[in-house]
Every structure is written in structure tokens, then in C-alpha cells.
Amino acid sequence: MTTVADKRPDLRDAAAKAGRSDRARSEARLGWLLAGPAFIVMLAVTLYPILQAFYDSLFNFRLTAPDDRSFTGLNNYAVVLSDPLFWQALGVTVFITVVTVVIELLLGFALALVMHRAITQLRGLLRTAILVPYGIITVVSAFAWFYAFDINSGYVNHWFAWVPGISTDLNWFAQQGTSLFVIIMSEIWKTTPFISLLLLAGLSQVPTELEEAAEVDGATWWQRLTRVVLPNMKAAIMVAVLFRALDAFRIFDNVFIMTNGANGTEVLSLLAYRTSIGRLEIGLGSAISVLLFLCVILICWVAVKLFKVDLAGGARGAG
């Protein structure tokens, strides 16, 4: 919403640069007046902490030894980037992000199609049913999945003992592979509704005439999907992928609850948390947070380049 409010006057502004009328000017001013307060709040709650974290990351600073604080330049970054633990955490984070986003995109699209095509009476019920997991707090769902798979109290091992490889003696949270499997499953279960809802919004933007025209021209179902529907909802797909990728990259709750980073399941957010909050090493922890932030920026940049969509333009088109 803010993007629309922010950008619209900007674009108009740019277009009107050649010959600015009074009206254009006052509209631009109104735009700033409307968006300005939100913009200032955004700066206060996002830009300030980011700059503070960067500043802190240049110091050797432990919360329980405030007097020993000393400037160390980029040394914290050198420590972090030369540590295999950081790269392992980054690898696990990227793995979880890629796997969950790909599966959720496919699954979410299928669900969106079902919701889109469902007969009107069922649509409301279906949407509610699909949205339920997304309404559950992540920590709660993490505990639910943890207890379901737990070797002592879980029921999964008993229900699925007939599946090869699963027995009542399988400790899901004792190895990397099985731990990651449960973590990823829980993520997918919880956030697929979010993706499918965004995709559903995109689907409903596709003009039915285009699809009908393609059908008249003899296009198969697959051709209509890949040539007509998907290209017309590129902006929605990008928003879905981008939001979910950023979300997945910052994964914390599931790992924290289920393994707390044991068996090679450490992720970047958890590493930053354990360093800043657990060890109270504000400097080192801030360095990890800044690197995490840079990764997030990189993801945004790649997504925007990859989809070649102007987010503001896309939002305008959708709005």
C-alpha cells in the first residue's frame, strides 16, 4: 500500500518534469504530505536500527563488560566470514529457502487454481480451510510438529511404522537429514496458504477474455496456462516468491524449537540470536545481523532482476 502511495506522485512527478503545471506540483506536495509521516516512521524503525547495528558491528562489545568496549574495525566481519560455522549456517538457510519456496510455489499454485475454479458456494469454505495453518502462530505450530515427531511422545512413528525407514525407534531430531525434513515440512504446511492466497489474487487479475480467446483459437489447457495465465500474473508470482523467500531466509522459530541448531541445522537467524542474545556479544552478533541483512537485499535484487518486473508498476497494474 505504501508503495502505491509513495511512488505514484513520484512517477507523475517525473513525467511532468518537462512542463510542470501548478496542479502537478500541488499533487506532488499532497503526495509527500500523505506519505511523509509513514516515511519518517519507516526511517525511525528500520533505518535507525540498521545503522546502529552496523555501528555496533565495528566494536568488540560484550553487554556484561560495557567498559571493555573497543573499536576493532572490520575484525568482527573477518571472524564471521572465516568461520566454517557461518558458511554452514548460510548453506542450511539457503537450502531451506530454496526447497520450501519451490515446493510452496507449486503446491500454492495448485491450491490457488482449485480455489479459483471452485464453485461459488464452496469458495469461502475452501479459502478458510486452506488459510487455517497460516493463522497459527509459528511457535505453536513448531511445537505441534515437534511433539508429533518426538520419539517419546510423538504419534508419527506409530502411525507410519509401516513405511520403510520409519519405526518407533526413529529419532527424527537426531540427524541432520530427518531434522531438516520435519523443519521444512512444518514451514511448508504453515506458509503455503500465504503463497496460494497471493497467487489467487494474481489469478483473478488475468482477464477471462484472453483465456477464452485462446480457447477459441484451439489452445490446450497447458498452452493456456503457460502462454496466457502465467505471463499475466508475473507480478503476483514475483511478489509471492520474493515475500516467501525473504521469510524463509529469516527462518528462526521452527529451528529454535525443534533442534536449537543441533545436528547441523543451524540457520543464520539462530546464529545471530545465539551470538547477540545468548552470548551477549553485541559486536559479533551485529556483524552477523548485518551480513544477514545484506543477503536479504541480495535476494530482493535477484528477484527483481530475474522477473524483470517493476514492483511499483506491477502494483499499479494490480491496483
Partner: protein, 400 residues
Amino acid sequence: MLTWYINPDDGGQAEIAKQCTEAANGEYVIEVSVLPRDASAQREQLARRLAAKDSSIDIMSLDPPFVPEMAEPGFLAPVPDDVAQRVTENVVAGALAGATWDDKLVSVPFWANTQLLWYRKSVAAAAGLDPAKAPVTWDQIMTASQDQDKYLAVQGTKAESLTVWINALVASAGGSILENPEAPADELTLGLESPAGEAAATIIGTIGKENLGGPALPTEDEGASLSIFQGDKGSFMVNWPFVWSATKAGVEDGTFEQALLDDVGWALYPQVTEGQPSAPPYGGINLGIGAFSNYVDLSYKAAECIVTPEHQAQYFATNGNPPSNTEAYDDPAVTEAFPMADVIRESLELAVPRPQTPYYNEVSTGLQQTWHPPSAVDPATTPTESTDLITAVLRGEQLL
């Protein structure tokens, strides 16, 4: 108005707060405020607030390993000499050590915890052991549970309980995790590359590799240990005394048969070397007084009221947390609720605290990183690995 930050319990601390408020005749009112369930989360919250000089923290229930970290930067108000003298009278050795930093008493001992060896009498008898008569060794209980095709219940999960186990094993073998716990971070030397460290690694590694703890071992905490011990595969377990009240409650509400409770025996923590007394784990809660509190004197007065032997006995009988004051063990309510009270007291005299250093969190987490999972622990490499990691982390050269 004094605020007492407490760890979650069964309401015992709130009850004591009420009684002390009444006894104070309006001089002060103690209000309790509950901290997170997890000990490390309690530490995080208190450390962050104290670093910001929070004046609302008057009294806090502190886990002993974190006392030095709070004491070193001056987060705890100094204990007045007369108070120190009164609150250390008749206090068990382990609890005194845990309340001290840099040879000074910095917190008030409240209750003291220790682990015992719990065993199923039927299994021990079948294996020809009687731990109540003569102390047993780790080798004996490992062999016995293997011969009887049962699981040994120990805490192998990657958490504080693993450090508790490692520390007890190293100390029982006559060693110590830190050789100079009071040194600054970059001068700390570890004592793991020693016969004691190797002995500890041998025990944990063998239990892990030979599956003596069962498949749950890598994620097994104190609660999970208890479930295994209560189950068909239960044999021997090292755990805190809460297991007794929990099992008793389970029998009362019909989850377990009385026969299970009758089958439970207890003894001192197992020895590593035969004939050398064991060094059982030490835990519990001390009371720290916030250095930024506006009512330090009143807080110490309130703390003295909280830790009276009567309150400690009442807390033990109702909440299952053993007293640090030996006098409290003579209370008839105590012996009725905990028939093993004498063994607990004896164990507390032998108990050895975890390393007393302001960098405890680094040491403990470093151990957990390198000694987990138990099946990967190797006496030839693990002590060296953990020494290298912890040393590098303390020098700021590596992440944890």
C-alpha cells in the same frame, strides 16, 4: 514494594513471598514476577535488564552457574558482612561454592539441587547390583543395563543438561573443566585434555556408540529420561529429585501402578573410578540482589526471610526443591515427602558446581557443540576439539 524475579515453579516462591510480606508488618511487600522457563532464557533476560541498569529488579532467583557473570560487572549488590554470616550458617558445601565468586559471597543460597542415581530395584537385583549398599560405578551400571537389555537414562540432548553430565563425570574422575576459572577470557585454560577428560569422553562415547541409552539419547532431556526410566526399558537413571515427586504424582492420579514407585531405588551418583567418591551435579537457586535496586537493604532483609530453614523445608516438601540449609532436613514434613532426603544431603556435600566463570555460557555451549551427539564422542579427539573451540571462542577468533 520489592519485586522478586522468580524462575517458574509450583507456586512455592509466591507462597514464601506472601508469608514474608505478612511477617514484615508493612515494612515491605514482595511481589513476584515470573521469568522464562529455561535457565539460559532467564539469564538472558536478567543480564539484558541489568546491563540497562533496571532498578525494578530487587531480588532475583539465579541459577548458580550464571552468578559469576552477574557478579563480575557489578550487577549484584554486595552482600553486607552481617547478612553474609547469617545466611551461610549450616549451608551445604556445594551451595556455598555456588554462591561465591572471587572468594566473596555474592548471592544468598536458597535451595540446592543435586542428581542422584535412581534405579529399578528389580533390574539392579537381576544384574546382581545393590547401589544402596555400596556405591556403584558407571561401568557397572552400563554393563548391567546392557545385560538386562534395558536403557540407561542419561541426558544426551544438546542443552545445559549435557554440560551438567560432562562436568559431573570430569569432576568424579578427579579433574575439572576449567583449571583457572577466575582468569580473564583469553587466559582461561581447560582441563579436558587429561585422564579425567578422557574418562568422561569414554563413558559418554560408549553409551552413545553402543546404544546403551536407546534411540532417544541424542534428544533426551531430564523429562525424557524420566519417561524412559518409568517405561518397560527403564533400568538406571541419573536425575534431579523432581523425578520422585513426579512419579509419586503419576501413581496418585492413576498413570502408574504403585508397583512402579515401590520398584524405584536411589543412591549416590555413580563413581567413575571405583573407590573414588563421585562428584554429583550441583544446581539450585541463589538469591541475587540487583545492584540498581532502590531498596537494597530491604531486599536483603526480605532475602533473609525467604531463605529461613522453615521456608526451605516448606519449599522442599511442597515443590520438591531440596534445601541448602542442613537444618531444614530435620523437618518431619521433608522426610515424609522425600524418604531419600538424607542421601540428597550427603550428595550435596559431595557436589561440585559447574565452572565458576563469567564466561560460563561460552564454556557450556562450546562443550555442547563438541560433545554432541554422544555417539560421536571419542576420548582421543573430543577433549582436544572442545579445548580448541572454547579457547578460540574466548579469544574472539571463532563463532560459537
